[in-house]
Amino acid sequence: MTLNGSEILVKVLLEEGVDTVFGYPGGCVLNIYDELYKSSDKIRHIMTAHEQGAAHAADGYARATGRTGVCIATSGPGATNLVTGLATAYMDSVPMVAITGNVPNSLIGRDSFQEVYITGITMPITKHNFFVNDVNQLADTLRRAFEIAHTGRFGPVHVDITKDVTAALCEYTPPTAEKKAQKPVEYDNLEEIAEVINSAERPFVYCGGGIRLSGAEEEVQRLIAKADIPASYTLMAAGVLGYGDRNNLGLLGMHGMYSGNKAIFNSDVMIALGTRFSDRVALNGKNFCKNSKIIHIDIAKSEIGKNVPCEYSVNGDIKDVLTKLLPLIKEQKREKWHADIDEWKKHDHVPVDVPEDSHELKPHQIIRETCKMAGEDAIYVTDVGQHQMWAAQYISHVKPNSFLTSGGLGTMGYGYGAAIGATIATEGTRPVIHFTGDGSFHMNLNEACTAVSYNVPVITVIMNNQVLGMVHQWQQFFYGRRFSSSEPERATNYKAVAEGFGAKGYHCETLAEYKAALAEALKANGPVWIECLIDRFENVYPMIPGGKTVEDTIINNPEEAGK
């Protein structure tokens, strides 16, 4: 059957099972939007306030469901506005397909209106990208884009399509080739690795986001239970370990638990699963666990030995590798190792609760109350900064794929778009809580209009400490309290702004007020903002300064910094 490029594009989206796309129309995608209009009964298009919001929404959709998220933007500025969203998704291995229009073939390369060489820009921040200027290539290129985004190590793929292609006619052939079955993989060193783990005295499991992407939570928990191995998780792996499990030592790294960081540092065997030894965990790559035999299991060969050398490595899907490794692992108990860790746990930072009516509102209490009230099914989305670390530290329970955060790129302004995408993806069946700070939220709070337009019940909890908290904390610790451009003295009235957008707003100064506001917000069927006033010297503890090791941990006193 002969179809035009836009019809083919929609056909392929349907072939791939896409039900929702996020985007923003414009000149070079008019043909595509015309076809989306005609197909609106099959594909829902969510128009955001800004293309960056669309990219983050597609990312949130993907992280919450595991399916590939799709966003669409026009040429030039539309396309460049996707860049931060693509880079965010790339750093965190999120499956996404971004489609941009470009100027007609005859105008390419002539600095035409709204023309930009976008594939040149997205090359280093996507898993792959394509430029399509021939309609005959369109269907297969789009199919390939979806395949690349969602195989191996996931990632965003960008497809740039010229305007003529979206109008040109060609014969559309439905996909014929059956997807190639994955060949079973053999690993030749599993027995050796099992022996190393079985004979270890102080083993430790370092859990990364790859566990989530592989769906290997159960296998990891079985490994930890069977061999009685303590474990910690990175920001990207929040939710993969059982809460309340003795072996779950909590968050790892710069703002991780002292006991967990101490345990990994003192381990004799460290099993790194689906992680890339980022500088937020291996703060000092040269000294990171240098006395430990490192076993690194990862789907990306390029991650093996990239930041920290390892003794043993397996290049493969974690679920598959662990399924084969588990029968070789000896069941045992490690009381002596636990006794050491229990000693370190005594030094862990313990935040102090304040009474519910105190005007000194504490982040950890806000987060714990939220978890209690929102229930086990909630999805948590964060922006970037102190509130993000508090959320990772104090969320008391979270399901896999339900803690959405920009870990690698650290994108302030990620949260609102992602939360909208996650809520739409789950059809409002699960409470979605968006924790943000006053700094991050100001970057993209304009997406409130999207949440209102589509009646998206996202609850935004703004931890307002009046400063750029993380910058402020570093300036306090390491820059002699010279708070350069981190105390903007903004006068934003969040309740009024929320209402101005057509959303609901609350202002809270005590925990009691917060609980009352949250209770109402959880019943609302549209977006709600809850502003919580926080002290500007509320810091994230503990903290290992960049480039240092666990021995340099600042537990709860800024005076310890720089020692």
Binding site: F131, K301, S302, G305, K306
Partner: protein, 167 residues
Amino acid sequence: MNEKHYLILLVENNAGVLTRISSLFCQRGFNIDTLTVASTDNPNISRITVSCFGDETVYEQIMSQTEKLIETKQVISIEPEHAVLRELLLVKVETDSDNVDEVVRTAAHHHFRIVDSHKGYMVLETSGSPEKIERMLALLKPFKIVEMCRTGATALEKGKVNYDLDN
């Protein structure tokens, strides 16, 4: 140890593939010493020979990062002693009535080909391993080199073929 390494990349012969490879090297801070690229007997495949400096860890990273690219079909690490490495050198020297005979004699003696002689300039050509090219260049030191170019190494492994593009 900062050693010179050679690798061969078999990549899809698409527009932009070279940009992708060189962008990756730049992004990851790998230093390319030389790079040659051309299509092969299979029109869908381009063959790139890269020489670069780095220690073993850096080299392994270069290999695995390049393998990660979607358009990369295969990355082959080659040992110079198990390969035929060749590059082409073109040198333009200034000549005058005093030295023209000497230039011609040197060229003949060391098997340079004189590929052009034009109003006081002579272009000499030779090919060989990168080490030979260095030696040949040194022989021309007595003359005034006004322009030169070399292609960088291109290479084939000795003996059997160690790749399978159908895989």
